[in-house]
């Protein structure tokens, strides 16, 4: 069999032909053995475009078995690679990005007019002719959800150990350490296995790193937003749960530090153009808890202000924070039982959930909005480093 690459660029119609026997090699070189770093400097999601061009040729020659086989091998290859690299954020991002792009291609070139509104005339020529791959689109969508869940798990695993010390224990505001309640002790610094404390800067550095990887790999902006919404929810939940269980952090000074930290995170979101992601909204219970620590807690007017402000905290959570509230010094009074009763009376009509702590493992449902590409298939160049010389451009 002749394996010479035919390069008739002016006639290239954006299809790639291969011999059936080369399918395993194609999957190995393009999926299972591929390192994302090999593709730096090429168009993002190149494997997805190459796979679509192969599918398109199999469709063009009306070979349904070849389409079935290639899609099945691709999906199994992606699953295998994800299993092997189940703690690798970059690899998982790379395959989420490529799986979504392949899904977008199967929509954009499906021939369904609803997905063709932004296509150029040239792109319309690159639509599938013979097969309807709607069912495979569902499989790719399910696979994308699995990959997204793996990505969130990896990111949460990295961030979670940093949250309590960075959000509640680290003091970045000058002079605050002098106004800590008596008995305050950093938990993390008392651990026997060394200093596990982190500052907020460490969380921000880590999120910068996640964001850069996701952008570099061409992940859809809407998916990046959902990743950060999920991560901010976890930061909110872990911090609030810790606050609800630790007397020594329920103080005016922690409230002030916490509000400052949250404003830094909000600033970071704005700087990365992620402020429309809904991430800040997930922090609302924590924002209110920080405010609750700082508000006056004495008069009926104070009680009314607390009740109208803390609408994202449950009655149980508000009461718990008030009970745990620790005065800074002998000049500040404890919250009185009468004040807490006033709050309870005012909030009794609320139909609040009964559990005190937030479910920090809660996940928001993910959506993958259709995102057509302006690239045309015949403009895509396959770099030699992929070792795909056996693919013939048609």
């Amino acid at each position: 069999r002749q394996v010479t690459v035919q390069r008739k660029e002016k006639d290239f119609q954006g299809m790639l032909e291969y011999h059936k026997d080369d399918e395993a090699l194609l999957i190995r070189n393009l999926v299972t053995d591929l390192k994302p770093q090999m593709l730096s400097g090429t168009v993002p999601c190149l494997p997805a475009y190459i796979l679509y061009m192969c599918i398109r040729h199999a469709d063009y020659v009306n070979d349904d078995l070849k389409v079935h086989s290639l899609l099945t091998s691709t999906i199994n290859g992606v699953k295998k690679v994800l299993k092997k690299h189940n703690d690798d954020f970059e690899m998982t991002t790379f395959w989420l990005s490529n799986t979504c792009r392949l899904l977008h291609c199967l929509k954009q070139y499906s021939g369904d007019e609803g997905f063709m509104t932004q296509n150029s005339a040239k792109q319309n020529e690159h639509c599938l002719k013979n097969f309807d791959l709607t069912e495979y689109r569902q499989v790719l969508s399910d696979l994308s959800i699995q990959i997204y869940q793996q990505l969130i798990k990896i990111a949460e695993g990295v961030l979670q150990p940093m949250i309590v010390s960075a959000m509640l224990e680290n003091e970045s505001i000058q002079g605050l350490s002098g106004v800590k309640p008596t008995g305050y002790r950093k938990r993390s610094s008392s651990m026997a296995d060394g200093d596990n404390s982190y500052c907020l800067e460490a969380i921000i550095r880590q999120m910068n790193s996640f964001h850069t990887v996701m952008c570099d790999q061409g992940l859809d902006p809407e998916i990046i937003q959902q990743v950060f919404k999920q991560l901010f929810y976890m930061i909110n939940a872990v911090t609030l749960n810790n606050l609800l269980l630790r007397k020594e952090v329920c103080s005016w000074s922690t409230g002030m530090q916490l509000r400052y930290n949250i404003s830094q995170l909000e600033e970071w979101l704005r700087g990365r153009n992620l402020h429309q992601s809904g991430a800040v909204q997930t922090m609302e219970p924590l924002i209110q808890a920080a405010q609750l620590l700082q508000l006056k807690k004495k008069t009926p007017e104070d009680a009314e202000a607390i009740c109208s402000l803390c609408n994202s905290l449950s009655t149980q959570q508000i009461v718990k924070i008030l009970n745990l509230y620790t005065p800074l010094n002998e000049f500040e009074e404890r919250v009185t039982v009468a004040f807490i009763r006033t709050i309870q009376a005012q909030l009794q009509e609320r139909n609040d959930p009964q559990q005190l702590l937030l479910d920090f493992k809660h996940t928001f449902p993910v959506l993958f909005p259709f995102n057509p590409s302006s690239l045309t298939m015949d403009s895509i160049h396959i770099p030699a480093c992929l070792n795909l010389e056996f693919l013939n451009e048609v």
Binding site: H68, K129, F131, L133
Partner: protein, 31 residues
């Protein structure tokens, strides 16, 4: 006159779980 495109044939696909099952049994069969 413009020709109406031929309707495309729906390719039936197994679910992701079924695909995994098939893949696992193939791996078990191979030495």
């Amino acid at each position: 006159s413009a020709q109406r495109p031929r309707p495309r044939v729906l390719l039936k696909a197994p679910t992701l779980a079924e695909m995994e099952e098939m893949n696992t049994s193939e791996e078990e069969e191979s030495p």
